[in-house]
Amino acid sequence: MTSTRTPMTYTHQMARAARVVRITYLVLLVIALLAPLLGLYPVFVMKLLCFAIFASAFNLLLGFTGLLSFGHAAFFGSAAYITGWLIKAHNLTPELGILAGAAGAGAIGLLIGLVAIRRQGIYFAMITMALAQLVYFFCLQAPFTGGEDGLQGVPRGNLFGLIPLMSDTAMYYLVMAVFVACFLGISRIVTSPFGQVLKMIRENEPRAISLGYQVDRYKLLAFVLSAALSGLAGSLKTLVMGFATLSDVHWSMSGEVILMTLLGGVGTFFGPVFGAGIVISLQDLLADKVGSWVTVIIGVIFVICVLAFRKGVVGELRDWLDRRRKQAA
């Protein structure tokens, strides 16, 4: 450091960092709002945003409550089916279809959560995975899911019965709005007193219990919220792509959302969004070029993340900036 500059205090540095983060978000928002004009392929960006919501919802549970669910495909996929079925077979308007999907996923989340929170750690992961497999078999055999074919050709319809979503631009802004709302909503949940209790459970569950918190209720509520938001992502995805298939409920989908969150940064706000961007882009880029090697590549990224990169891209970046700031102060 040069001696002419007055050294800033650590709090000043923090305030400046917060300002930088806010400005970054604003810039990203402006880019996102202009995306259709910039010539980005809208369906791709919409798919990416859906998965960004999914990963953020998952992160609410893993990053801020410390619960690793290996069955989040159950919520994503069942909501995708519910929305598709209601819109296609019962001519519901898209907003009602989406809400019903999210509510359905929340209800399934309540049932699965009630069972799964009876155990902790790796058992929690195994139980959620087994219960998600139960949902998978249900979707495979239920009469309204189209079995192996899934639900195809789900119409986008008119939002509130007024705005036709057939145009990708209109659909894009709807997805964008839902994404921003979810992102802000999750930030709000995490910074609320409720979110602080969740963090305490993550850090030290016995202490939370000894302080008199009904830990199971907090965990269950976090689980249901995460499930409902994951469902919202699945419903939106059905609307955007026009189909819901078995791969939406398959365990590999549960694995993918874990990877997105891990890669971007567990317990960071922007990490899951970033991770979803990388994974979806990779799949899109590689799908028709390398076939099954996509699975191998995803596996390799998993291994690298766990061995060398446990904080994820955003987490490592944050720590690096933090260290520099401390050195400067």
Partner: protein
Amino acid sequence: MEIFGIPHQAFLGQLLLGLVNGAFYAMLSLGLAVIFGLLDVVNFAHGALYMLGAFVAWLLLDKLGINYWFALVLAPLTVGALGVVIERLFLKHLYKLDPLYGLLLTFGLALIIEGIFRELFGSSGQEYPVPALLQGATNLGFMILPIYRTWVVVVSLAVCLGTWYLIERTRLGAYLRAGTENASLVQAFGINVPVMVMLTYGAGAALAGLAGVLAAPIIQVNPLMGSNLIIVVFAVVVIGGMGSIMGSILTGLALGVVEGLTRVFYPEASAIVVFVIMVIVLMIRPAGLFGKEA
């Protein structure tokens, strides 16, 4: 003759098939329990290692003409060696971390192994013939007993009980159990714990590989056979609790039989009955049937 309105031939046939499946559940959950006990790692790659065992057997026969009996030894050794490599290269670095990272790492490894085999051999199954010595069936009078399936049940049970004896009744097993309780103390007594850990993972992997070889002539050898099985085995492990070796064996066998019986009486539910039982057990006894309350 009928049992509960079902022709007894079909009934006993499904019962045997259930026992066969149960034997696989027992072998796999046993390996998971032993690995988890010492390494604190839930080995998601267990299904992939099982698949690998079957594929090694098939490759030995198809490419090199090496028959079933040699494969029965060579395939588990190969898979076990791969297990040792996995432990040295990857798992070794995770022991001080949250066990969840072990689960995630082995999940990634499972994706890699399965992806490679899917790319090389496609998703369709490969036929593995039943060895000449074990073909056909014996007529017991009240039922026709397929020899190969009986063989699978007998061998699996022998291997499971042998493993139980090794762990619960021998000096080597005593080291292992002591290491599960307190690794650093065992180390202080002069046992080379890192080598023990490495060999334990290798042995667990070999057990999965052996199950794969045994399964090869019964089911089509295909790259996805492991991942479909591993989730059921996880449920088995949750039901049994990972604390007891004998518990894993008994739970595995019993659930296989229950699944077989469900296939007789209500086929639609046979794929999910294990999961439903898991829910019931979790409601009544969260630590599992043989688990210790945490």
